[in-house]
């Protein structure tokens, strides 16, 4: 390993909070420097800013849950993230598709599908909701209360570039009324 490789690999490990593989006086100096935390903070804040701009509903929901910064920061630290911020956002939303919170999963998957459909290159996908997604989007838009799951009801949000307006929603019932 050359000195350049050792230095760059070491700083990557420190930035991502992975610790050092071996002792190195310079890297140990960095690990004790407050500048390292500033650098990490800047990296995460840029990504928070981009995520907020690109997927405001998921961002607003995570902020309501008071874990927006933590989730973005954890995604940055835990993943080999893309340097292109737009790609970072798409990967971030994909990762939230496995979040423990069902509403976060539904919302992130929907916003991801909408972003991709907006590019005009996506066949329709279906996202299943346990509550009316239209009411959720509206509530987040006006900072109102988010509806609870609808007892006995199931909603399917279809998203695709061929769909007029990119999205359509049906309540899974005999009436199948568009929302």
């Amino acid at each position: 390993m050359t000195p350049l490789e050792r230095e760059q690999r070491g700083i990557l490990a420190l930035l991502k909070g992975r610790g050092l593989a071996s002792r190195d006086p310079y890297l140990e100096r960095i690990s004790n420097s407050p500048r390292l935390e500033i650098l990490r903070e800047i990296a995460v804040r840029w990504r928070m800013y981009q995520v907020e701009a690109q997927c405001r509903y998921t961002s607003r929901l995570l902020k309501r849950q008071q874990r927006f910064e933590q989730v973005v920061g954890q995604h940055f630290i835990s993943n080999a993230t893309s340097p292109f911020l737009e790609t970072f956002t798409l990967d971030f939303l994909r990762a939230l598709g496995a979040d423990a919170d069902v509403l976060v999963r539904e919302l992130a998957s929907s916003e991801l599908a909408i972003l991709i459909a907006h590019e005009g290159k996506q066949e329709a996908v279906e996202i299943h909701w346990d509550r009316n997604p239209d009411l959720v989007f509206s509530a987040l838009e006006i900072h109102g209360p988010v509806p609870l799951p609808s007892a006995g009801e199931h909603f399917i949000l279809r998203v695709g570039s061929e769909i007029r307006g990119l999205v359509e929603c049906v309540r899974e019932s005999a009436t199948a009324a568009p929302q």
Partner: protein
């Protein structure tokens, strides 16, 4: 679609004035275009994932095409990562390939830094250690870029935030050797120099005395922020008077200087406002007698 003639930039005898424009604000473009000679295109913020590849946004290219008769263009990258020990960012080269097919530019440039390591994005930019190993690596890649695109290539010194590692060269010598051995030009960012003075105690007087100014073709101007005792290279405000004065000093020394670029982030535009940006461009032009 060729959208621009590079002649505006390459034939000017006095330094030309440029500013960053990253799309989506046609009113800003309408306001600043008459005040500028050159638009600096930053490929990173206008690139987006399309399937498995990364492409330049067509709508922003159209914006550039619409003003191609009035201004020239340069391309200033952020994410090539020319100083990574393993490899630079191939996706970034694809973006440049596409951009150069669409836009005729006077030159392109990158930061003398590292944004990815072992294929993983750092999420930020590191300055390079001032060593022969780093010089050899960078020069080899500059030569590859020169062969690939056949247009001038410039490197910008970056502001380092982390403590510096042991160096074999002074800051100015490091730039001098890279420019001499690779044949690239240099961009001096006045604000970055101020950051290094503040954050690392750079001896600015010695730096200016040691630097071979014959290779400096572009000067960058920007304003940033102070945060937790550090001065950060974030293009979020207008230029402070001392930064502008330093740029004037650099311009007087750099006989080959062709371009002065005021850089501001797209995200900073709502904070700055269009009026302030226009005033800043007029201020810079007047201060540097452009």
């Amino acid at each position: 679609m060729t959208v621009v003639s590079a002649a505006t930039c390459t034939t000017l005898k006095a330094p030309a004035l440029a500013a960053t424009y990253a799309g989506d604000d046609p009113e800003l473009l309408r306001r600043i275009a008459p005040l500028l000679d050159v638009i600096e295109i930053a490929p990173d913020p206008i690139a987006r994932a399309v399937g498995s590849s990364t492409r330049i946004r067509r709508d922003v290219l159209t914006e550039y095409a619409n003003i191609a008769n009035d201004v020239g263009f340069t391309v200033h990258g952020l994410g090539l990562s020319i100083g990574s020990f393993d490899s630079w960012h191939d996706d970034h080269l694809q973006v440049l390939d596409e951009l150069f097919e669409q836009v005729e530019v006077a030159w392109h440039s990158e930061h003398l830094g590292c944004t990815r390591v072992a294929g993983e994005s750092l999420g930020t930019m590191l300055a390079l250690p001032r060593t022969t190993e780093a010089i050899d690596l960078v020069c080899e890649r500059v030569h590859a870029l020169q062969r690939r695109y056949g247009i001038p290539f410039l490197l910008e010194q970056v502001a380092g935030l982390l403590p510096e590692s042991s160096a074999e060269y002074s800051p100015a010598e490091f730039l001098n050797v890279i420019a001499r051995e690779s044949g690239c030009g240099l961009i001096l960012d006045a604000y970055n120099l101020e950051c290094d003075v503040h954050n690392h105690g750079l001896d600015l007087k010695r730096f200016l005395e040691e630097l071979d100014f014959s290779t400096v073709r572009e000067v960058h101007l920007a304003g940033g922020v102070r945060y937790k005792g550090a001065r950060l290279d974030i293009h979020s405000s207008v230029t402070e008077p001392e930064t502008l004065a330093l740029a004037v000093d650099i311009a007087r020394r750099a006989s080959a200087l062709e371009l002065v670029t005021f850089e501001f982030l797209k995200e900073a535009v709502p904070l700055l406002g269009h009026d302030a940006i226009c005033r800043e461009l007029l201020r810079v032009r007047e201060a540097l007698s452009l």
